[in-house]
């Protein structure tokens, strides 16, 4: 014990002061237990004991750090920069509370006109909503399937062609960065009006998102099981199929379902650019200021989206 105490300071306030006759605090461990229990570095680390002198030194160092001019600048300058950025964005976005106040009665008037909803075309709206769901489903399904090989090529440590990985990531980011709406706008011009252009738009955007998600999930997987199978003579692809796919499959399916939910919501507006679905009815109602019809369309969208979100969330919970 005597040797152990050599490392302790002669005296010290703070935590150590509470213990009679010494600067160190015993954190409720029996003396016999602490004799050799945690001695690591020439008496500086003792399990269950706190060296009050070292705590005081750390406190002083912390005070010094907080007084550092650079830290002070960060504490003051960062909120200022954020406030400035917000003010600029407010101006650029053209926020005008006066116009909002003037427009609110108009919205109230429209809401009044929307009741009772006009349900005479309900079967047509349901059909159009079905078209929107079909666009999202085909787009997501094809994208998810096409994302598997892309993810294999884009995942670090897994790709058989490491040189291709970074350029492929760029391509995926580009597809992910362009919204399905924008793709649909272009594709309507290429393949004509209708839901096919919408499905293609959803497909291209989702392929980028899905492949990136899949690749990221793949990169977090331990490869040791695949290595074990390869050591036993399995080929590289068979080892992936049997070692990684059973573990990754549910996660990938869950990600694809999540993207499907998102795509159903996003596809409701594709009709605005002529890419089919409920969106074109939505646009027609707005153009005619027919709010009773619009109310029915919004109700159909809300019910369908809620039902699909609920079913998909249930499925994803089952997959977890």
């Amino acid at each position: 014990m005597g040797e152990r105490d050599e490392g302790a300071p002669a005296d010290g306030p703070g935590i150590g002061a509470g213990r009679a006759g010494g600067p160190c605090v015993d954190l409720r461990r029996p003396a016999a237990d602490r004799v050799d229990a945690g001695r690591v570095d020439a008496g500086r680390v003792d399990a269950g004991r706190v060296d009050a002198g070292r705590v005081d030194a750390a406190l002083a160092a912390d005070r010094e750090r907080r007084r550092d001019p650079r830290a002070m600048v960060a504490r003051v300058a960062l909120p200022l920069v954020l406030a400035l950025a917000f003010a600029v964005a407010w101006h650029v976005a053209g926020v005008d509370l006066g116009r909002l106040a003037a427009g609110l009665p108009k919205i109230g008037h429209w809401l009044a006109q929307a009741w009772p909803p006009d349900v005479r075309e309900l079967p047509v709206f349901v059909l159009r909503m079905g078209e929107t769901v079909a666009v999202a489903f085909v787009g997501t399904a094809v994208a998810a399937l096409a994302a598997v090989p892309a993810a294999l090529l884009a995942a670090r440590g897994v790709t058989p062609m490491p040189r291709l990985r970074v350029p492929l990531r760029w391509v995926l980011n580009a597809f992910r960065g362009i919204d399905a709406f924008v793709f649909a706008l272009i594709l309507v011009a290429a393949v004509g009006l209708g839901p096919f252009a919408g499905a293609l738009g959803v497909m291209l955007h989702t392929w980028g998102s899905c492949a990136k998600l899949f690749a990221d999930q793949l990169e977090t997987m331990p490869l040791e099981t695949a290595e074990a199978l390869q050591a036993g003579g399995a080929g590289r692809i068979a080892a992936f199929r049997h070692a990684l796919l059973p573990e990754l499959g549910p996660a990938w399916a869950s990600s694809a379902l999540y993207l499907f939910e998102f795509n159903v919501r996003a596809s409701t507006v594709l009709g605005v650019v002529g890419a089919g679905g409920i969106g074109q009815e939505l646009k027609a109602s707005m153009d005619l200021l027919d709010f009773a019809r619009l109310a029915t369309i919004l109700a159909v969208i809300l019910v369908a989206v809620t039902a699909i979100d609920t079913a998909s969330a249930w499925l994803r919970r089952r997959l977890a």
Binding site: E224, L229, Q230, A231, G232, G233, A234, A238, H242, E247
Partner: protein, 233 residues
Amino acid sequence: MSAPAPALVLRGATRRHPGGRGVADVDLAVREGEFVALVGPSGAGKTTLLRLMASLDAPHAGEVRRFGETPRGPRRGDTRVAVVFQRPRLVGRADALANVLAGRLGHLPRWRALLGAFDDGDRRLALASLAKVGLLDRAGDRADRLSGGEQQRVAIARALAQAPRVLLADEPVASLDPDNARAVLAVLRACADDGLAVVASLHQPELARAYCDRVVALRDGRVEAGGAEGEAA
């Protein structure tokens, strides 16, 4: 009449790691039906040596011969040599039988392996392997629901389903309690009695002496005792 040629022969096998660890000038031969333990402290080179034997790594100097042949290259699997790792490396979401069947992949044509189209012969062998490790009644249980000892035995069953002639086990009992450790070593002993060449790295010399035919002591990457034997080097 001369004894059969050793299944594994290492002559001057050397592999150095950047940190200075590894193995150097190892001469060792292991015959089929023999259970050899590699013992030594952490960092002695046990895992490096087993990875050389498994062709997971290539030697920097010397040679490793398996059944009289030099392996085609590192990381080239060989169905005649099975490896069991310290951690079982199972597919947690798959059942025990599916995990053991994965040991048959090396015997299947590429497309059947990809589709997982195992025939009755594969399934029979996989179930027999599970029976050998005492887990036939757990065939349908998910691997991640099994205990650590059971998972390690499933890993051995997967190795046995490969129908190997050499079984290499890297610290197979390091993370197991004494009872499970003995159960796993008893299975490895039985494999050697069935004619397999078995090499296992172990931390506990007393277990090595109890279950193995020969104990090879390693220290600082070199064989201290129990090396060579037979026609090696």
